[in-house]
Structures are given as structure tokens and as C-alpha cells.
Symmetry: C2
Subunit: 343 residues, 2 copies
């Protein structure tokens, strides 16, 4: 007997569309392998929503409609122009919100409204959107606890690279001493290029932008804030903290010079942008900054736009995970994973 899981998907950008594609392609497989009958009850974007009947929306047809340039609210006969995510969440009796609206670190909207509304309804939340989770971690966590719901954020914490589930499942029972992560692909690409060629930071950044690895506005990445947000979320979950983006000292890579890179190389080291959370006598200390790593450090060989995370524990010693596709498909796959593991 399969268990039905009714879904509201908010956000139909690249990640939302990739997720819709996974839902369209693999629902049968998810049902046979995991016993979950996934029903897309509604999909919402900036101009409105499509709300399905009891069997949900026809995902393949919706995808076709969107790929042909149609808006979700014009998807006949389900489209409802002007219908908001909050309205959909409040009205439909569903099990889980998949939140993929654009992230903002100003007020976390519109994801913030969606996530609070979903938790109020007793829904689980799977979010690729970092903003509201980082900004309102404590309130969201408390509300989820009261309502007995889960907030699942693999996609917001390095996407297809497994971070939280390794820390929670694979290291269960061990005491976590330190987490170190290369959690941002574009900065690792830039540092790798500086290392390989002796390039200037500006040259390497420009190359990364031309390749689409770095954003046109790269500040969130190169100033270390993206890494900081991820390590805050990971540390909150794995050390049981409630820290926000201001509780961490952050240094980016904009001041790293070819001379720094050469000096490190002469000492047999590489410079990497590392997010760290370390258990100390004074509590867990968080930081982000360029660090010189010995060649034998398990993060030293993580190059290009690849990401990795390394956990130091007492009983299992050090465990390092690397890889995972950095792409909308990778993020969508991480959300599908969370959805499967949550039910």
C-alpha cells in the first residue's frame, strides 16, 4: 500500500522546473521503490497558480505548457491568475511545501510567508531557498517543533552534495568535533584557477563569470556570505544551535593575491575558502575565510567548482564527502531526496 503525499510547489524557476521534471519522470519509480504516491496538488509562481483536483495536476502536461513559454496561471483548466502561494497553502489540505522561490537575504520573501503558512497548516517543508531559513531559523524551528513538522534543507546546504544527512544519519551516535566545508563552487573555481596559473583574482573571476560558474553579481559568493549561510544552517542543525547570519565572522576571497597563493604553494599548501564550525570549551565557534591547507588535508584535493564537507568525530575519526552536481537538477534531486526521506 502506497502512502499518498500531497505537494504544493512554490517557485517555477530553474530549480522548480527541474523538480517538476523529476516529479513527472519518476513518480512511478518513487512509488515502487519507496511506497510514496506523490500528488502535485498545486504549483505557484509569481503571476498565480495552478490548482489540481484530487488526483493533482498532470505534471508532464504542466511541464510541456511551461516549456512552451506558458505561465502556470494560464494552464487550463487549472490556472488561477493572481492566486498567491499563501492562499494556495491556506486553502489546500496538503502534506508538504516544496519551496524554490528566489532567495533574498533582506526579508526572505516570498519564501518566508510560504514557509510560515505551511508550518501553521502542519505541513512539512522542503526548501531550496536559503534566505528565510537563515534569517528566521529560530522562529521557524520553534514553530515546526510545536506543530510536529520537519524543515528539510538539503538543497539549501550545498544541494546534491550531502551534508546534513551525512551528519545526522551516517554519524549518529558519534560526537561531532569539527565541520570544515568547501561549500561554494564559484569561489573554489576561482581559487583553483589562481593556484593553477598564478592568475590574478580579477582574471579568474572574469573567467568564472564567462563560464557561468560565477554570478554576474558575485558578491554573495566571493565575500564568503554564501558559505557563511550554509555553514550556519549546517551547524544549527548538527550542533543544535539557533545562530543567524550575524553570529559568524566572515572573510571572503577578494583580497587573496597571487603572492599569497604562491607562498602557500611553496610551503606545500593550497588556499581554500573554508567554512568552519568547531566545538570548543567556549561553545561552537563558526568562521568563514581563506585557509591554507596541507596537501594531505582531505579538502586540499577538491578542485574546480566541486564542493566538499569534512566531519571530524570522536569515534569515527574524519569522514569527508565530496562531489554532487551543482545545477538546478542537482538541487531538485536534493529536494526529492528530502521529500522521500521525510515520509
Amino acid at each position: 500500500m502506497s502512502k499518498s503525499v500531497k505537494i504544493v510547489l512554490c517557485g517555477l524557476g530553474n530549480v522548480g522546473k527541474a523538480l517538476l521534471e523529476l516529479l513527472a519522470e519518476r513518480s512511478g519509480e518513487v512509488e515502487s521503490r519507496y511506497g510514496l504516491h506523490l500528488i502535485l496538488s498545486a504549483a505557484v509562481d509569481i503571476g498565480g497558480a495552478a490548482v489540481g483536483n484530487d488526483e493533482g495536476l498532470p505534471t508532464a502536461k504542466l511541464l510541456e505548457h511551461l516549456k512552451a513559454g506558458g505561465a502556470v496561471e494560464s494552464f487550463s483548466p487549472f490556472g488561477q491568475p493572481g492566486k498567491t502561494g499563501k492562499e494556495v497553502i491556506d486553502e489546500a489540505a496538503t502534506d508538504v511545501l516544496l519551496e524554490t522561490t528566489p532567495t533574498t537575504l533582506v526579508d526572505g520573501e516570498p519564501g518566508r510567508t510560504h514557509i510560515f503558512a505551511a508550518l501553521e497548516q502542519g505541513m512539512d517543508v522542503v526548501s531550496a531557498n536559503k534566505g528565510p531559513i537563515v534569517l528566521f531559523y529560530q522562529e521557524l524551528h520553534e514553530l515546526a517543533r510545536q506543530k510536529g513538522c520537519g524543515i528539510h534543507i538539503s538543497a539549501a546546504t550545498a544541494a546534491a552534495l550531502p551534508t546534513l544527512d551525512v551528519g545526522q544519519v551516517c554519524l549518529a551516535g558519534a560526537t561531532l568535533l569539527e565541520i570544515e566545508g568547501i561549500l561554494n563552487g564559484s569561489t573554489n573555481y576561482i581559487l583553483t584557477r589562481m593556484q593553477q596559473d598564478g592568475s590574478d583574482y580579477e582574471v579568474a573571476l572574469k573567467e568564472a563569470q564567462e563560464l557561468g560558474i560565477a554570478e554576474t553579481d558575485p558578491r554573495l559568493d566571493v565575500e564568503g556570505r554564501d558559505t557563511a549561510n550554509k555553514i550556519v544552517l549546517i551547524a544549527n542543525r548538527l550542533f543544535g544551535l539557533s545562530l543567524g547570519p550575524k553570529d559568524i565572522s566572515v572573510e571572503g576571497i577578494t583580497h587573496v593575491t597571487p603572492e599569497d597563493v604562491a607562498e602557500a604553494r611553496d610551503a606545500g599548501q593550497v588556499i581554500k575558502l573554508i567554512g568552519t564550525a568547531k566545538r570548543t570549551d567556549k561553545g561552537v565557534q563558526l568562521s568563514v575565510g581563506p585557509k591554507r591547507l596541507d596537501q594531505t588535508h582531505p579538502l586540499a584535493s577538491v578542485s574546480g567548482s566541486e564542493k566538499a564537507i569534512s566531519y571530524l568525530t570522536d569515534t569515527m575519526h574524519r569522514i569527508t564527502v565530496s562531489g554532487g552536481k551543482s545545477s538546478p537538477v542537482g538541487a531538485a534531486a536534493a529536494m526529492l531526496k528530502d521529500l522521500i526521506n521525510a515520509f
Copy 2:
């Protein structure tokens, strides 16, 4: 409210003792973090057993008794000389068997008897003992299915290096295309030394034996059988197969020469003993053998006695996990992890 979990521990060698130590040290923490109240109902070794009352055995005192050279059956007032594991399992109403008796690939005894008896009683099984699981995978799996019990074998599949839980939890929803693993520490140590120094196989083996990294009788490792057993167990679980030790082509490292290593190095490659399970048009193909890897392969930088596993998937691309303590404590920690995740 905590959930009580009654345990029978079979085998008090190095892993069994390390596990007893974890139970003695961390029961309070396991209860507060995971809501599990662990009760050691009985402990069994070759000469007999100690069987506790309703509150179970006093783990710290039992550990002290064993460390002072006492046998479990002489642990007053709980000791019962001659009492077998099967008798204990049949008589006590417990929830889980922790099986750490010595592994044998001849008949899998005495672990085989313990595991079948536990499943018959409807108990979950956490086993560090590979022998019976590899030899009787299909029968055990079928019996566990009938009885609704789990067989948890992290400790038998590379111990503290997480393999199965990464494949099952972290990659949920993705399609696994290929698994490649460096799953045996002593052979990786030998190949690393041959790589570093141009040493002969025999010289490197002797060094590994002197350091306690390789066994006095190293055949199971160097002939590739240990790696084969692990990749069979991992592939059975993750691809849903029921293969045995004869269903895999196995080549060890005994014929690898310094010339082979030098030739690989000249081509920018390293030789590693790799266990592979690959999805093909003809089903999943398994093999073990020395393989030349490019330096960019994520397993190429796994050196010394370290282990690692790399998963290639469709939606998340490649994810590699490395590290994990190779020691009785590491194996015991993997068993505690399985125990926590099972309940």
C-alpha cells in the same frame, strides 16, 4: 518519553568490547539525543553468557570485569557458564542482536546461528560479522522480510566509512549507475607504499604487517576477497540483488609489480584495488581488481590505509565519501549508528 531497546551482544572480542565501552559511556547521551533507552539484556562469549535482570547488565562493571581478565560467564551474579548465544536469544525477549563474533567464510558460524535465531524471534540484527551475511544473504534477507525485521550491516561494509547509509539515504530518489570503492585498508596501504617508493609487493606487505595494518595471514585482503565481500553486500542492498561470493570476478594485488606501478605513474595514473558494481544493459556487473585511475579520479588521492567509496548517479552526478576510522572503535561506532537509526 524514551523508547526502551533491549540488546543481546554476541562476541566480546575487540569490537564487542569497544561496543560495550560505547554502551557504558554514551547511554545517557543516546537517550537524550535520540530518545532511546538502551538496555544490555545479555552478553555472550565463547564460554558462556551474562544475563541481566529487567534493567539489564551494569555495562561499566561488566567492562571492568572483562578488562581485569574475567570471562563474561564468571561475571557475578549474572554469569552463566556454558550458556550459548542461541539459548540466550531464544529465551530472552529482546529487540536487537549485536553480532560481533569472529567472521568465517566457511560456514559463517557461530554468527549464522545467532542471526537466524534472532530473526526467528522477530529481532533486528546489527552485524559487524561479514561471514554469515555474505554466505546466506538471500535466506537471511527473505527471513527478515517475513518477520518484518531489519539487518543492519554498516560495520560489515567498511565500518566507520559510511557506505550503505549514504547510498540509501543521501542518494534517495537518484538512480545509481556505478559504485567504485577502495574498501580494504591494508591493500591500499601496500599499493600506496609501492607507489611512493617503488617498493616490491613483498616488502610493502611485510611493512604493513609489522605496522599491524595487514594481518599475519593476509590472503583474504591481498587476494581481493575482503573487498569482494564488501562490494557484494553493498551492491545487494543498493541494487536489490541477492548475490553471493561466487558471483563476482576477483583479482587481488599479489601480481602487481613495481614495473606496473611505474608504468601507471608515467601515464599520470595510480593503481588502486577497486571493487566495482556497475549497472549495464545486462544487469549489474560486479568485479574486484587492480585498476589504473587518472589523478583526477576522486579515489586516486585516497592513500595509505584509508578507504573510500564513490557513487555515480544520474541526477546528483558523482558523490564520494572517504575516511572513517579502521579500528575496533570505528566498527563499534558503526554498529551504534545502525542501532540508533534502526529504532
